[in-house]
């Protein structure tokens, strides 16, 4: 070791040796750790604390309709309607009263009840994905009354599953980094990944290749062929990334969501934009985006924006689309991991209704952030 190296070792030792360790909130770290598991389920995004929505009124943007003709005070905000207020049809999980295992629970999905401890839940046209077991490492898809694991090893983030049966996920190989596995046509293909952080599979392209995202950018990867192609033409400052349908990306850029397709040459071509922070939900056909705005739930399409009023409710989260025209939103308290109310909002009727027999308390729903 040279003189400089020895001095380095001595000085670093001297600096570190004088430090007094900080206090650590163990219970708080465990709470935050559970939320981290949920965060991993929804890809690379920044944790956002709940914010109360100021009810200063809302702006109705729809071709041919003047916002001033429909002030918030004259529009009924909640309707108790048999159809709109019917019980929840999306999958949900809640704990059961088990003194030996406070995390024991039941997953309610498609009329089935599955005893399992769930740490994250995703639902889409291809089915329901569940992160389960106490360490939150196992991802499975729901097949009737059973859970079918995606991979034998731990997954740092949610896999993706498309309606054609294509699947993709990233596995943690420990010191060897990460690997991407793509399953198409009943065959499995894998490739090692070299990144400083675990990539997240955002979706699949129309040709069945994987779209992966890191802080460095978005790539198209096909384990059947060597190498990766960086997606070009992306706007600067991309935050949250979603893939509403195969080959399509919805990118949060500041306070807007930019929607576009990735073509065969890995170029991003913008189709349309809307306001939003990227925490909303996409309809199954990828043409409607629902998120929260002042005073209600905003529905955005290429044609315009409409709002279903939901007044006097704070701490709201968009859970997801329950049908081609209806979205479920939850009043959720992240500190307690508790749902205290559920509403169903119609993009056609522009009304919201309380969901009948809504599960409350420590409940996990698709789309809730930790």
């Amino acid at each position: 070791m040279s003189d400089l190296e020895q001095r380095l070792a001595d000085e670093l030792d001297a600096v570190a040796g004088d430090l007094r360790a900080p206090d650590v909130d163990h219970a708080g770290l465990a709470r935050a750790g559970r939320r981290e598991r949920v965060r991993r389920a929804v890809g690379p995004m920044v944790l956002v604390t709940a914010t109360a929505l100021a009810l200063a009124g809302f702006v109705l943007e729809r071709p041919g309709r003047d916002a001033s003709s429909d002030p918030a005070g004259t529009v009924p905000t909640v309707v108790r309607d048999g159809a709109l207020g019917r019980p929840l049809e999306l999958p949900w999980w809640t704990t059961v009263d088990d003194q030996d295992d406070p995390d024991a629970g039941v997953l309610h999905v498609d009329g089935e009840q599955i005893a399992v401890t769930v740490t994250a839940l995703r639902h889409g046209p291809a089915g329901t994905l569940v992160e389960h077991d106490l360490d939150g490492d196992t991802w499975s898809y729901v097949d009737g009354a059973r859970l079918v694991p995606f991979a034998a090893g731990p997954l740092d983030a949610a896999p993706v599953l498309d309606t054609e049966g294509g699947r993709a996920w990233v596995s943690d190989l420990g010191a060897d980094g990460w690997s991407l596995t793509l399953e198409v046509g009943g065959r499995s293909f894998g490739t090692a990944l070299e990144h400083d952080e675990p990539p997240v599979v955002v979706g699949l392209t129309r040709s069945g290749r994987a779209l992966t995202s890191t802080t460095a950018g978005i790539e198209i990867r096909d384990p059947r062929r060597a190498g990766a192609r960086a997606v070009t033409g992306l706007p600067a400052g991309v935050g949250r990334v979603a893939s509403p349908v195969p080959g399509r990306l919805a990118l949060q850029v500041g306070d807007r969501v930019v929607v576009g397709d990735v073509d065969a040459g890995a170029r991003f071509r913008e189709l349309w934009t809307t306001e939003g922070d990227g925490t909303g939900a996409w309809s199954d056909d990828g043409e409607q985006y629902a998120d929260l705005t002042e005073g209600g739930v905003r529905f955005a399409t290429r044609a315009g924006r409409t709002v279903a009023p939901l007044a006097s409710v704070t701490d709201l989260r968009v859970v997801g689309w329950e049908s081609s025209t209806e979205v479920v939103v939850a009043q959720w308290i992240p500190q307690d991991e508790a749902v205290v109310g559920l509403w169903r909002c119609s993009a056609v009727e522009l009304q919201c209704a309380e969901v009948a027999d809504a599960p409350t308390g420590r409940v996990l729903l698709p789309g809730l952030l930790g």
Binding site: E5, E11, L12, V15, L19, D25, A32, G33, D133, T215
Partner: protein, 164 residues
């Protein structure tokens, strides 16, 4: 809160035993107490999230250190003001931090190195890791560790020479 697992004990026991040493590494990486507390908090949260796997690893501390260092190098940490402060110093702790000292001529220079060079220096000369261990920690090739270390030492020599 204990997470009952087989193997090397509970998460709480791990944090109690290792958080001090991880904090020292975090301090050497970040150069200041508030950022070191943030970095340690991020790492400990991630360790909890993967605890069942971590506790069964041959060296949970190595896993935690790798998580800490990679969070530092990638600088992917949520803004401080949006999070609970779960790792924080008692009021009198700052008084015990290293005071400016003419004998610590290299420390400010290390703190000014780029993140990856700083990480390699801390892992090599404070943690005493080998090239291979540093490569595994950072997820890079051994050759890259060697070249990064050389670049860091060259930068320090140049700065010292300029100050002489």
């Amino acid at each position: 809160m204990d997470v009952p697992v087989a193997g090397t004990g509970s998460y709480e026991e791990f944090v109690a035993a290792r958080s001090a040493s991880l904090f020292r590494t975090a301090y050497l990486l970040t150069g200041n107490r508030p950022d070191a507390e943030d970095l340690l908090q991020v790492a400990l949260v991630k360790v909890y999230a993967g605890w069942r796997r971590v506790s069964k690893a041959s060296s949970p501390e190595a896993y935690a250190r790798r998580t800490l260092v990679n969070a530092f190098v990638s600088s992917r940490r949520p803004a401080r003001f949006t999070r609970e402060r779960l790792v924080h110093s008692p009021p009198d702790a700052v008084a015990h931090d290293p005071a400016p000292d003419d004998r610590l001529a290299l420390w400010p220079l290390v703190a000014a190195l780029p993140p990856r060079q700083r990480a390699v220096v801390v892992l090599r000369y404070y943690e005493g890791l080998s090239e291979r261990e540093i490569a595994e920690t950072l997820g890079i090739a051994s050759g890259t560790v060697k070249s990064t270390a050389s670049a860091a030492l060259a930068a320090l020599r140049l700065t010292i020479g300029e100050q002489a």
